[in-house]
Amino acid sequence: MKKKLTAVDFRGTPEQEAKLLAVIEKYRGVKGAMMPILQEAQEIYGYLPPEVQKIIAEKTGTPLEEIYGIATFYSQFKLNPSGEVAISICLGTACYVKGAAAVLEEVSKQLGVEVGGISPDGRYSLEATRCVGACGLAPVMVINNEVYGKMTADQVASVLAKYKA
């Protein structure tokens, strides 16, 4: 699986960094500590942006590419955060022929978020998924586990309005 770097600006707080440094300190001298450090770093930040990887690289004396190699190898590690509003649109066959692509395009246009990406403010993330098995409701859009069926491009604005910050 290919992982994309994120478009969201890094918004780490000094508190988060202090926590991360404490984690790195906790594992100082422990053999094979990179996995637990990355796992705990992801707990702190919600994902592993390059900024976080750089801090870990500097403080542990590990080359950044090695850390990046680990972060991209395991599916649990995320290079992209999920938005507060996580939108996924089914691109299964039924949804596709019923115009899911148009819905996807409209959402992307309205929010300014590319497929597989996240809005710079971190509020909206947009994903295209495989068949979610709700062909009778095609096209299907799922927002934070809420299912919206029989979507049309025209309805996008009114659905998204519910999630305005």
């Binding site: 990179m34 990355l38 090695e66 190699g69 190898f73 395991y74 649990q76 066959t93 039924a94 095609a138």
Partner: protein, 614 residues
């Protein structure tokens, strides 16, 4: 803690387990599957309704075993056989408290049934009677979050015995003679593995590791063991450490198992507190430190060299063998790595002896094996059977047969590394060698039952897609060979393949199997090889007749409206997502095959049974 303390604690706690100390012990199955079925609120309800009753103890336990009847609650009462209640709800809990605990009358309608009669205890059912529980002996019996209950069932006695009465070589000898073979899939003799790592005790740093990175889809043996009896694994690892001369260990458990991780951590902390882990255990000068490491979602890390690379904090890619872990393993030191279930057998083998263990099973496959029985079977569940039990007994007696009167087609074992046993070989004994003889493996213990409604090409494709996704990419045969294999399978399923492709499929499978670096690639073609061997006719039907005999492969299926049955209600036409159905009201409708995407919505919605798959 010394031996006297251990015995005293055991004797003090033992009566609690069976409620022999008076009153009632209510245990609620709170493994992951129980929780998903709603066991949490059931437990709360029991606590609420028995609040203030001094003679009732409500406790959690691990997996009781018969999944589709969760939540399961068992009630122990002094001097009486235990009672098993299934499919419990908070409301049912209230009735059990009132009628059984207060009223003394067990509630028969919440029990399992056997031959049409209520079975008071799960132990009275065929499902359980056919089983032999060695690895699972404490699962569903003790509270896994309480070390005292483990000790009450002779816990840590085996470690005590090994440390104080046996030399390390004697420990290895007992394990070797027991005939125990690795339960993770490969079946390597455990005693031999330990022996190979036993040189230079005390001179070389060594490690003991536990593979709890259970990744096969449809397998949950290790999860259940860790959730139900974590101390058994800890005790066994300490014994292994003593045997080979290690003083440090790691349990590599997948991060997707939060309950198992939580209970393991509790267990490790409790064992440390009691001095059963750490320095100078039982005053013998033996030291053993144990830590957890979490997987991060990579199937290949179930392979031993990848697992150790991952513990070292790197990308979990395999290394060539030799050198084997016994000589050069974790951090390049000699290492013993065993699977969870393998360890779960160790304390009993040390306590009861090699001969006792070897009395179960067949000549070359000793003891028992835990299977996660699933798929098209009536009794989905976690079962433990003596090696060599014919498949027929597992499917039709313990498993209770195939639901909905369907015909058995095959049984898939060993997950993505395994194969399919066809229905006509149902009398095959389930042991390492009998399955190997028909190109299958016991594997880690997933056992998926497949019926006539499943397409074998589709099943093979399912596993292939999984391994292609999980290939780490280090070696070419696995990375590219499997991808090409999957593409051929896709062609077959889409009805675009020729007989040339079939030959190519066989050839590729062989190459990948022979040339891949690690166990993942070497076994990944197995689902294809095995289905090609036993279900060649299904492949041919897809290729020659452009037909999927099980009506599964969508491209090869046509939905057809029977004009004699169609009433022209228009419902299907309205529901069709692609407007492929047309027809006048009260006249038979027709499906335009060029527009149909085979989603099946029309068939699901037809009230007259007029639509069928062809």
């Amino acid at each position: 803690m010394n031996y006297t303390d251990l015995l005293a604690l055991r004797d003090r706690t033992a009566p609690v387990i069976t409620a022999a100390d008076g009153g009632f012990r209510v245990v609620v199955g709170l493994a992951t599957c129980g929780m998903a079925a709603g066991a949490g609120p059931v437990m709360d309800a029991f606590k609420e309704y028995t609040a203030g009753m001094d003679n009732v103890r409500v406790e959690l336990t691990g997996c009781i075993g018969i999944c589709q009847y969760e939540p399961i609650v068992e009630i122990y009462e002094e001097g009486k056989p235990k009672v098993t209640y299934v499919k419990m709800t908070p409301d049912r809990a209230r009735r059990v408290v009132e009628e059984h605990i207060r009223g003394g009358k067990p509630v028969e309608e919440f029990m399992l049934t056997e031959n049409g009669k209520p079975a008071y205890s799960i132990d009275d059912t065929t499902f359980m009677k056919k089983q032999v529980r060695i690895a699972l002996r404490n699962c569903g019996v003790i509270n896994p979050e309480d070390i005292d209950e483990y000790i009450a069932r002779d816990g840590y006695q085996a470690l005590r015995k090994a440390l104080t009465e046996m030399t390390p070589d004697e420990v290895i000898d007992v394990v070797y003679k027991s005939g125990l073979r690795g339960r993770g899939g490969a079946g390597f003799p455990t005693g031999l593995k330990w022996k190979l790592a036993s040189d230079n005790r005390g001179k070389v740093k060594k490690y003991v590791c536990c593979n709890a990175d259970e990744g096969d889809p449809g397998a949950f043996m290790d999860r259940s063991l860790l959730e139900g009896d974590p101390h058994a694994i800890i005790e066994a690892m300490a014994i292994a450490a003593y045997a080979i001369g290690a003083d440090e260990g790691y349990i590599y458990v997948r991060a997707e198992y939060p309950t198992a991780i939580k209970r393991l951590q509790i267990a490790i902390d409790q064992a440390k507190e009691y001095g059963l882990l750490g320095q100078n255990i039982f005053g013998t000068g033996f030291n053993f430190e144990l830590s957890l490491r979490f997987g991060a979602g990579a199937f290949v890390c179930g392979e031993e060299t990848s697992l150790m690379t991952s513990i070292e904090g790197k990308r979990g890619e395999p290394r060539p063998r030799p050198p084997f872990p016994a000589t050069k393993g974790l951090f390049d030191q000699p290492t013993v790595l065993n699977n969870v279930e393998t360890y779960a057998n160790i304390p009993q083998i040390i306590l009861r002896g090699a001969d006792w263990f070897a009395s179960y099973g067949t000549e070359k496959s000793k003891g028992t094996k835990v299977f996660a029985l699933g798929g098209k079977i009536n009794n989905t569940g976690l079962i433990e059977i003596p090696m060599g039990m014919p498949l027929r007994e597992i499917i039709y007696e313990i498993g209770g047969g195939i639901p909905n009167g369907k015909e058995l087609k095959a049984v898939q074992t060993g997950g993505p590394s395994g194969g399919c046993i066809p229905a006509r070989l149902i009398d095959t004994p389930v042991d390492y060698d009998s399955l190997a003889a028909i190109g299958c493996i016991i594997g880690s213990g997933g056992m998926i039952v497949i019926d006539e409604d499943n397409c074998m090409v589709d099943i093979a494709r399912f596993f292939l897609e999984f391994t292609v996704d999980e290939s780490c990419g280090k070696c070419t045969p696995c990375r590219i060979g499997m991808k090409r294999t999957l593409e051929i399978l896709d062609k077959i399923i889409d009805g675009k393949a020729t007989e040339k492709d079939l030959a190519r499929l066989e050839e590729l499978s062989d190459y990948v199997k022979t040339a891949s670096l690690c166990g993942l690639g070497q076994t990944a073609p197995n689902p294809v090889i095995s289905t090609l061997r036993f279900f060649h006719d299904e492949y041919e039907a897809h290729i020659k007749d452009r037909r999927c005999p099980a009506h599964v492969c969508k491209r090869l299926v046509q939905f057809i409206i029977d004009p004699a049955k169609c009433t022209g209600c228009t419902k299907c036409a309205r529901k069709c997502p692609t407007s492929a159905i047309s027809g006048k009201v009260r006249e038979p409708h027709v499906i335009d095959q060029s527009k149909c995407i085979k989603c099946g919505v029309c068939m699901d919605n037809c009230a007259f049974g007029a639509i069928s798959k062809n």
